[in-house]
Amino acid sequence: MASESDGKELVFHPMDQFIVKPLFGDGPVGLFTITNVTMWMVLSILCIIGLLVLSTSGKKSVPTRMQSIAELAYGFIRKMVEDVAGKDALPYFPYIMTLFMFIVFSNFLGLIPGSFTTTSHIAVTAVMAMAVFLAVTILGFVKNGLGFLGVFWISSAPLPLRPILALIEVISYFVRPVSHSIRLAGNMMAGHAVIKVFAAFAPMVLISTGIGLVVTPLSILAITAIYALEVLVSFIQAYVFTILTCVYLKDALHPHH
């Protein structure tokens, strides 16, 4: 994050934390290079396995703290799928649970100072959003045949209005993966960049003791406040991503408005 330039001044770039670099050596980043992104993704998967497998291996009727976290997460997502997408969406619950756990753990691991937020890259979130988009579209056609096109034809609207609405619906349908992925990546990137911008102001007292005595405590306070906000945003964005997946799934299973 902080790098020495010209050997003298300390230069601080708020976007440096998002640079993808190889974990071993300094070579170019290829398709199969092990980078810091790979490392943090593997770490978040290991954390999920640790939480879900280890905590439920010795099941107790009075759950331990770890076990109740795992049970709460399971119950939370299961209820969300049931409420939003309906009972017949429950066969797809494992996929939605996987998405939620991966996003929430990537977001929270990214909050550790000095770590890397994998979900702040559009490349990562776009793959997840495209997977959801393709899966939902294919599922819609498999389940309903051509009746899935009814999702664009709003039968409750007046007849002359329907073609115009259908056009809008088609556009908004194909824009879904874009907004779905950029929402998560944008929120993560913006929040972390803001923290680093304030972090750049924090060592001001080292440069000038006059204005620094005012700026440094204020920026440290701001970092603390924004960090707390980021903890909230990390969870809410994971929640929003999964709930939108449920909404899209509902459209695929019940295309008629």
């Binding site: 929402r183 709930i243 909404v247």
Partner: protein
Amino acid sequence: MEGDVVQMGAYIGAGLACTGMGGAAVGVGHVVGNFLSGALRNPSAAGGQTATMFIGIAFSEALGIFSFLVALLLMFAV
């Protein structure tokens, strides 16, 4: 005067595109404010509607994200 006029235009456009985020902020505030005023009138019905509120937030936020996307495109793709 030196420099690239196209580059300058792209940067100014990127800055202007960011004003769209203000619209998203108004939209999200409107959604949450109306949810809260409804929830305070009938608190027993509020719990079941939080998911709907988040869906509404997500949809109104999406349009702010498009302005962010336009800004990014102007910065890095034009």
